[in-house]
């Protein structure tokens, strides 16, 4: 029987089929659409787990199966499917989280009339994400990448009748598009130099030694190595999709979509795609490490961007008042951590953090979803409060998620994955700045999560909706519990003492280090978490805010900083000021050019033609006609003169004849005509 990889394409195919069924089904068939979606997701999960078993059987081998999409003259475009531990783990994560979120949305989207459309869009998204994950060719990956972008646009703008949602969808799509442009350029450049976009192709895939070898030697412009330049271009795509520093502005606004969408797309999967991409082509990124002469290493750029994003995300999250916006900025910050991990060279730590983050961030979002569902779509934390007593399970699962995210030691997965990143950062040669940024991030994360917890769950209910909140139905709380278990359990797979997950991912046995090895770094991080939690509880726990209008303790402490952070560091305005104005200026310039320069020229030509026509008529009228008239008049007059000779008098003719004859004869006779 062929190796499993040949059948890998079925995993994305199932949700795609469900999407097709959902789309084709008549409007009202809600049960059919949701049932198909969930069944497809379950099938995908089963297959992914089987694939994982196969992958784990030979962790270091990259099993691939390539086929020709279409041949173009002499060259042929070849795509392919890949199976190795990284793919397998991602497949399982995506399908598992997807399945739980689908089940959750059954309850959440209950009273929405576009129920059917929601489910087939979600399955379309899942199919696209799975395609990105299992593809062996950058081109196929790029196709999936674009479909994911489309699905996110459609889902963010799900309630399109709300202008904010439509604007947010457009913003998300355009910013990610800018990133994708860089990705496409890198892809094209790569294809041009290596001649193949296949990752692994029995030796001549571009990730394999032979291609990388000669790629590294080429020096692109500005002293950058070719691989560095290509990697940076690909990183643009990743930054765009994963919401890294310059291109993160769309993520907070993406919260306009329904909460399950935010959970699935803007927490677990899509944003993680960027990190997965960089991890996937990590050999390309790290190829220039060996070149001492290179002025810039791709990974240092990644690390820098990651650090900046982590700090900035955490800081802004602390000053937000909207429940989902706080979680969105927390996601931005955690993605910054993953990029930081990649930058410092450990893609295994980044992927481990990605997996754990997927579980507890999905958990937090779903819990927020159930809160919003219960509080009749009130999202402002200042108006919520006192929900702990009213929504027991949601409060409990939210607390687990909060502790995992902020990295409460030893029990929760968040601590182990963040620990691995900090450990990798500490070992990074060039500079230790990323380490300090990471540590600062830890404090801030702990602080804003406790602030969120206190504001929402403790204190008096500050609005009628909050006071009427009831616990969500079982169909919503069950996935929360499963996710909570995942958030706790997953951590134990990757502890330094027993690095099972890391070794599987790396394909090589990583030596087990004693649990408290490097105790100093671990102790420092534990202390920082405690400081964060304490300060959060101090400001918001002890004296929870009495009313919605009450000033925020942080605000009273540092009003200008708080306002600055509240306004998302004014990045949107900055962009508007720079890119926006540039765009309008370019448009105006084009308009002027078109109206005056080209239009002018055409107008000129038209007038020229008109003038030529006029000139022609004049010359014709005056010059030629009169000329002809005079000439013909002349001819007519001479003709008339001659015609007068023809009198019609026969006698006259005969007489002239006779006389002429006589004259001639005389001439001949007298003139001696001999």
């Amino acid at each position: 029987m062929e190796p499993l990889v040949a059948y890998l394409w079925i995993i994305p195919a199932l949700p795609l089929a469900a999407a097709a069924v959902g789309a084709a089904a008549p409007r009202g068939s809600r049960r059919l659409a949701s049932g198909a979606a969930i069944a497809a997701m379950a099938g995908a999960l089963a297959l992914s787990s089987v694939a994982l078993k196969y992958a784990l059987a030979a962790p270091s081998a990259h099993q691939f199966c390539n086929f020709t999409w279409f041949d173009l003259g002499n060259g042929a475009v070849r795509l392919g499917w890949l199976l190795d531990p990284l793919n397998a783990f991602m497949c399982v994560m995506v399908s598992l989280v997807g399945l739980l979120i689908f089940i959750f949305s059954l309850g959440y989207m209950e009273d929405d009339e576009n129920f059917k459309r929601f489910f087939w869009l979600m399955s379309l998204f899942a199919a696209a994400m799975l395609c990105v994950v299992v593809s062996n060719s950058l081109l196929l990956l790029f196709i999936g990448w674009e479909l994911v972008g489309l699905a996110s646009y459609l889902l963010i703008g799900f309630w399109f009748h709300r202008p904010a949602a439509a604007a947010a969808a457009k913003k998300a799509f355009i910013t990610t598009r800018i990133g994708d442009l860089g990705f496409l350029l890198g892809l094209v450049w790569l294809y041009d130099t290596t001649g193949s976009l296949l990752l692994y192709d029995g030796g001549n895939g571009f990730l394999e030694a032979h291609a990388l070898g000669d790629l590294a030697t080429q020096v692109a412009a500005g002293g950058l190595a070719a691989t560095t330049a290509i990697s940076l271009l690909i990183f643009c795509g990743a930054a765009g999709k994963s919401g890294q520093f310059p291109l993160h502005v769309w993520l907070p606004d993406a919260m306009e979509g329904p909460t399950p969408v935010s959970a699935l797309i803007h927490a677990a999967t899509m944003v993680a795609a960027g990190v997965f991409l960089v991890a996937r082509v990590f050999p390309l990124f790290s190829a220039d490490q060996g070149l001492p002469a290179a002025t810039l290493h791709a990974l240092t750029v990644v690390a820098a961007i990651g650090a900046i994003t982590a700090l900035m995300g955490a800081a802004i999250a602390a000053a937000q008042s909207d429940l989902k916006r706080i979680l969105a900025f927390s996601t931005v910050s955690q993605l910054g951590y993953m990029m930081l991990a990649l930058g410092v060279g450990s893609w295994v730590a980044a992927i481990f953090h990605l997996l754990t983050h997927a579980f507890f961030k999905a958990l937090l979002f779903l819990a927020a979803g159930s809160v919003i569902h219960a509080a009749h779509h009130v999202q402002d934390i200042r108006e919520l409060g006192g929900l702990g007593a009213r929504m027991r399970t949601t409060f409990a699962t939210f607390a687990v998620g909060m502790m995992a995210l902020s990295g409460v030691p030893f029990v929760f997965s968040g601590f182990w994955s963040k620990e691995a990143i900090l450990h990798a950062a500490s070992e990074w040669g060039p500079s230790s700045l990323p380490l300090y940024a990471g540590l600062a991030g830890v404090v801030l994360t702990a602080f804003y999560m406790t602030r969120l917890l206190c504001e929402v769950f403790w204190g008096p209910p500050r609005s009628p909706a909050a006071s009427h909140a009831r616990e969500s139905p079982a169909v919503m709380t069950a996935p929360l519990v499963v996710l909570a278990a995942g958030a706790v359990g997953l951590g134990f797979l990757g502890t330094p003492a027993w690095p099972w997950l890391q070794s599987r991912l790396a394909g090589a046995e990583i030596p087990a280090r004693p649990l408290l090895d490097g105790g100093a770094l671990m102790a420092v991080s534990i202390i920082l978490v405690a400081v964060g939690l304490g300060s959060g509880w101090a400001l918001y726990g002890r004296r929870p805010r009495a009313s919605a209008a009450a000033p925020d303790p942080l605000q009273s402490a540092a009003p200008r900083l708080f306002a600055f952070l509240g306004a998302r560091m004014k990045l949107d305005e900055l962009y508007a000021a720079t890119v926006g104005r540039l765009n309008t200026f370019a448009a105006a310039l084009a308009d002027i050019l078109d109206r005056w320069v080209w239009g002018g020229a055409v107008g000129l030509l038209a007038r020229l033609g008109e003038f030529a026509g006029l000139l022609n008529r004049e010359v014709d009228e005056v010059g030629l006609n009169t000329g002809f008239d005079t000439v013909s008049e002349e001819i007519r007059r001479t003709g008339q003169a001659y015609s007068r000779a023809q009198t019609g008098e026969a006698h006259g003719y005969l007489r002239t004849l006779a006389l002429a004859f006589v004259v001639l004869a005389l001439l001949v006779l007298l003139g001696g005509g001999r």
């Binding site: 006779a658 006589v662 004869a665």
Partner: protein, 171 residues
């Protein structure tokens, strides 16, 4: 030899001159017929019998008849009987022109050194003439045949054609 010629010449010219001067049309035509017979007589004197008989047969027999009919058909009234005022001067001019032409021709004849050959003229028999007609002049004969047919049919059509209005015919 010459006396006969002179006689014929004088007779013919006299008849022709008389024909041209008589006021009455039919008398003119008859006198003309007489001059035509005079010409036929000259042909006989010159020895060309065939030409003479042809002249008599065609001119005296046929053409005179046609002219007679034409004259009879176009007799409107006697208007042209009294000589018109313009005709006096025109006759004078005509005679003058005729005299001038005659004078020039006679002068030319008198001065041209024509070698007179007293030998009796060649006798042309009808067989020889037939040979000539059918030989070198065969084409000309056919053409004349066609010409005659076409002319005569044309004449018939012209003359017999219905005029724009025939007042006197129907009244």
């Amino acid at each position: 030899m010459n006396t006969v010629l002179i006689l014929i010449a004088l007779a013919t010219i006299g008849a022709a001159a008389a024909a041209m001067s008589r006021p009455s049309l039919l008398n003119c035509v008859l006198l003309l017929t007489l001059s035509w017979t005079g010409i036929a007589a000259f042909y006989l004197w010159a020895g060309a019998e065939f030409a003479a008989f042809a002249q008599v047969l065609i001119y005296v027999g046929a053409i005179s008849m046609a002219v007679m009919f034409a004259v009879l058909l176009t007799r409107r009234g006697r208007r042209d009987f009294p000589p018109r005022k313009g005709s006096r001067s025109r006759a004078a001019y005509a005679v003058l022109a005729g005299a001038a032409v005659a004078g020039v021709l006679l002068a030319a004849v008198a001065r041209s050194p024509l070698a007179a050959s007293p030998a009796p003229g060649p006798a042309s028999t009808v067989r020889e003439l037939g040979g000539q007609l059918m030989g070198p002049h065969a084409a000309a004969l056919l053409v004349v045949g066609v010409l005659l047919t076409v002319a005569l049919i044309g004449a018939v059509v012209l003359a017999a054609g219905a005029g724009p209005e025939k007042p006197e015919a129907t009244r």
